[in-house]
């Protein structure tokens, strides 16, 4: 069965990866493919990730396509990104003739990028002085987001929330610097259920937010990074790669918008962006958003325990 689709939006990072790999030995471009109902995740050379998804959530590493029953392609099929289709004339996607083909025995999915709109994170344009949300606004957003996560069944498992509380509490008892909280959270890699364990999503949201602020000089501190080889000993490969993409600031629009709104002091905008995340996985969106909120607290010298408390309260839970 052959399926041809035209992409709606394509992340800037996708093009970089495709163009880069077009110049490599591309007979073996795809290392691994995961097929789900809404999404195909393609691991390409050097562990780069391209996500092809019918979900409307845009990301640097995503190609958004119209709704189609992706699940008709069998999970685990051996895919090949057809190198012949990757011809680079210009980096402007709407002027290029780049095509992306995923082929397998009996199945072929071709995605045309030529009419797609390119998507890039806006955090890159954030410079200079920032008007962060006030502590009270962060807590209001956290409570409302906790509520939204609860009503969409996106709250991380209580066991994960308890573990996060313990880590955050420990780091908050000293000075909760980004690095200290991050080190604590990293101990939780792989904790939780789902394709991307909840703790991994919290870490992604936290580190991506901090790094976006650090990269624009809005928060002092070191760049947070992870070692993929170490991560894969504690969580599954897909989760580890997605985590690394986000931490390297290949952001999705939920995290990106939350960071931008936080920097602008726009509480309503931050809540809206966090809600955008809720379409991710089972509780991935809720977890990632929680990570962003904890980072916003740490960046503002607000006790992250308060933020966690507001989220939990909003979700109608009690961690006692």
């Amino acid at each position: 069965m052959r399926t041809e689709l035209t992409a709606l939006t394509v992340g800037a990072e996708v093009l970089r990866k495709l163009f880069f790999h077009a110049h490599q030995d591309s007979n073996h471009v795809v290392e691994r493919v995961w097929v789900f109902r809404n999404t195909i995740n393609v691991l390409i050379c050097n562990h780069g990730l391209i996500t092809i998804t019918t979900k409307p959530l845009r990301a640097s590493f995503a190609i958004n396509i119209p709704w189609t029953e992706i699940a008709t392609i069998p999970n685990g099929f051996k895919g090949v990104l057809n190198p012949a289709d990757v011809s680079v004339r210009t980096m402007l996607v709407n002027e290029s003739s780049v095509g992306l083909s995923l082929c397998s025995k009996g199945n072929e999915l071709t995605i045309h990028l030529n009419d797609a709109v390119m998507w890039e994170p806006v955090y890159r344009s954030l410079h200079g002085e920032a008007t962060f949300l006030t502590p009270n606004e962060i807590l209001l957003v956290a409570r409302a987001f906790g509520y939204a996560a609860a009503v969409t069944d996106s709250v991380p498992h209580p066991q994960v929330l308890l573990a996060i509380r313990n880590v955050v509490k420990k780091s908050a008892s000293k000075s909760p610097t980004p690095a200290r909280v991050f080190d604590g959270l990293l101990k939780l890699v792989g904790l939780g259920h789902g394709l991307t364990p909840s703790a991994d999503d919290v870490i992604s949201g936290f580190a991506a937010t901090i790094n976006a602020l650090v990269a624009r000089g809005l928060v002092e501190g070191d760049w947070l990074s992870v070692d993929l080889r170490e991560l894969v000993t504690r969580t599954n490969l897909l989760s580890a790669v997605i985590m690394r993409e986000l931490i390297m600031l290949n952001l999705n629009e939920g995290v990106d918008g939350a960071v931008a709104s936080f920097v602008r002091g726009d509480a309503d905008g931050m809540l809206e962006s966090l809600i955008t995340l809720l379409s991710l996985g089972h509780d991935s969106g809720g977890s990632m958003g929680l990570g962003c909120l904890i980072a916003a607290c740490v960046a503002s010298d607000v006790d992250p325990m308060l933020c966690l408390g507001a989220f939990v309260e909003g979700a109608g839970l009690s961690l006692v």
Partner: protein, 425 residues
């Protein structure tokens, strides 16, 4: 630790909202002149489909329909004068929904236009809609030439009295009037989806009303003209189906904690929704352009963004959501029969339940997807997909095709944000 209370609260509210939506009993009960029956439609005021809009952002077809309505009312004798009155605010225009009115495409209702009166005896609500003019060059698609105004006048002078007398005859026989829910349910079994295809519903309507029409005592020539007008206009029951849907969704509106959508509508510039627990607050985004089948000589570049209150049918659980019941609709709106079936199946993922009374034979008589839940839209990223007529983007031209349109996700996200702010803090 448990968040069950929040979810239980919403579950209880949504169950109530959708139950009321399904149990609503919309009846056609009367005809009347708009300004005499519609609340707050007085003076030089017009109603239009979709969310509120200002003149500088009004789309071509809506502009054309408003101009046409000003001419129809006699407030101006040229399009230029009519436009000036609208631009200066001497003629005001407001959305239909807060007035309990619905109208397809531009949905323009003016004070002296005759309207259908629908009533739901179960929940005591009224809703109103104008009479359908047919396809092609018509006011609701933004055309306002002499033939359009003449037709509207004929409808007021000939069709309206016949229908008024007909429904009075029907009421003598059965109270409170003609049950339109039964017509929709039956038409879904006969190949209609009751948004863009009303072929079966039209036949059913005529079967129901003809004996009464011909016993009204009105001049036989007028009765035959009215009968022929309805018989030749296969989309005639659309407005009635919309009024019925409005009553169903009105019954579901205003329930605290409910996340069910009770209005989905477009004005040719924006689309907007209401949510049961969030009152009459509009959540809007730019209206998308339908993917369509074009009339000869037209193409996508002529198309205006989506317009009309007719998506109230999908809000109530039929129309595009019941496309699996109406494979023949594809010849009008494009795409494939497989898509029609797939679309209905996909809408189950964002709706609360399957309809008790509206069922689809092809799907083993499953109920239609009913009660769009903003939580499910945000969670799945799937948005309501409907079928629709397409208007030319310039005023005064009319219909150029029909197609499929998928709503943007932004209004649903904004509504969830407001919901979290209202109940989460």
């Amino acid at each position: 630790m448990a968040s069950s209370s929040i979810k239980e609260e919403i579950e209880k509210a949504n169950k109530k909202a959708v139950e009321r939506m399904m149990e609503s009993e919309p009846h056609w009960v009367d005809m009347g002149v708009a300004e005499r029956v519609i609340p707050d439609l007085k003076g030089m005021k017009l109603l239009h489909a979709g969310p509120p809009i200002t003149w500088d952002r009004v789309s071509g077809p809506l502009k054309g329909a408003l101009i046409g309505a000003v001419i129809y009312e006699g407030w101006a004798d040229t399009p230029e004068k009519a436009e000036r009155l609208l631009k200066t605010g001497e003629v005001v225009f407001e959305p239909t929904h807060p007035h309990r009115v619905v109208g397809p495409m531009a949905g323009v209702v003016s004070p002296s236009m005759p309207v259908f009166i629908f009533y739901d005896p179960k929940f005591g609500n009224y809703a109103y809609t104008n009479m359908n003019e047919g396809l092609g060059k018509v006011l609701r698609y933004g055309a306002y030439g002499k033939e359009v105004i003449d037709r509207l006048k004929w409808m007021a002078e000939v069709l309206y009295p016949v229908l008024k007398a007909t429904i009075e005859e029907i009421r003598k026989d059965r109270k409170p009037g003609l049950n339109f829910k039964n017509i929709i349910a039956q038409a879904l079994h006969m190949g209609d989806e009751c948004h863009n295809r009303y072929v079966a519903a039209n036949a059913l309507l005529l079967k129901e009303i003809s004996p009464y029409m011909f016993s009204t005592g009105i001049d036989r020539k007028d009765v035959i003209a009215a009968y022929n007008f309805i018989a030749r206009n296969i989309i005639f029951p659309l407005n009635m189906g919309m009024a019925a849907a409005k009553l169903m969704t009105l019954a579901a509106h205003g329930i605290e904690y409910s996340t069910i959508v009770t209005v989905m509508t477009r004005n040719g510039t924006d689309m907007g929704i209401w949510v049961s627990s969030l009152g009459e607050e509009w959540f809007t985004a730019p209206a998308p352009i339908p993917k369509g089948v074009w009339f000869p000589g037209y193409s996508e570049k002529d198309a205006n963004p989506d317009i009309g209150d007719s998506s109230i049918t999908e809000t109530a659980g039929f129309g595009g959501f019941a496309m699996a019941a109406a494979p023949a609709i594809i010849s009008y709106v494009g795409s494939t029969v497989e898509f029609a079936i797939e679309n209905t199946k996909r809408m189950y993922e964002i709706t609360y339940t399957k309809h008790k009374y509206f069922t689809i034979p092809y799907l083993g008589f499953q109920g239609t997807p009913t009660g769009v839940d903003i939580r499910k839209v945000v969670k799945t990223g799937i948005t309501p997909t409907i079928n629709t007529g397409v208007a030319h983007k310039e005023p005064g031209i009319g219909q150029v095709g029909a197609g499929i349109v998928q709503f943007p996700i932004e209004p649903f996200k904004a509504a969830l944000r407001r919901f979290a702010q209202k109940y989460g803090i």
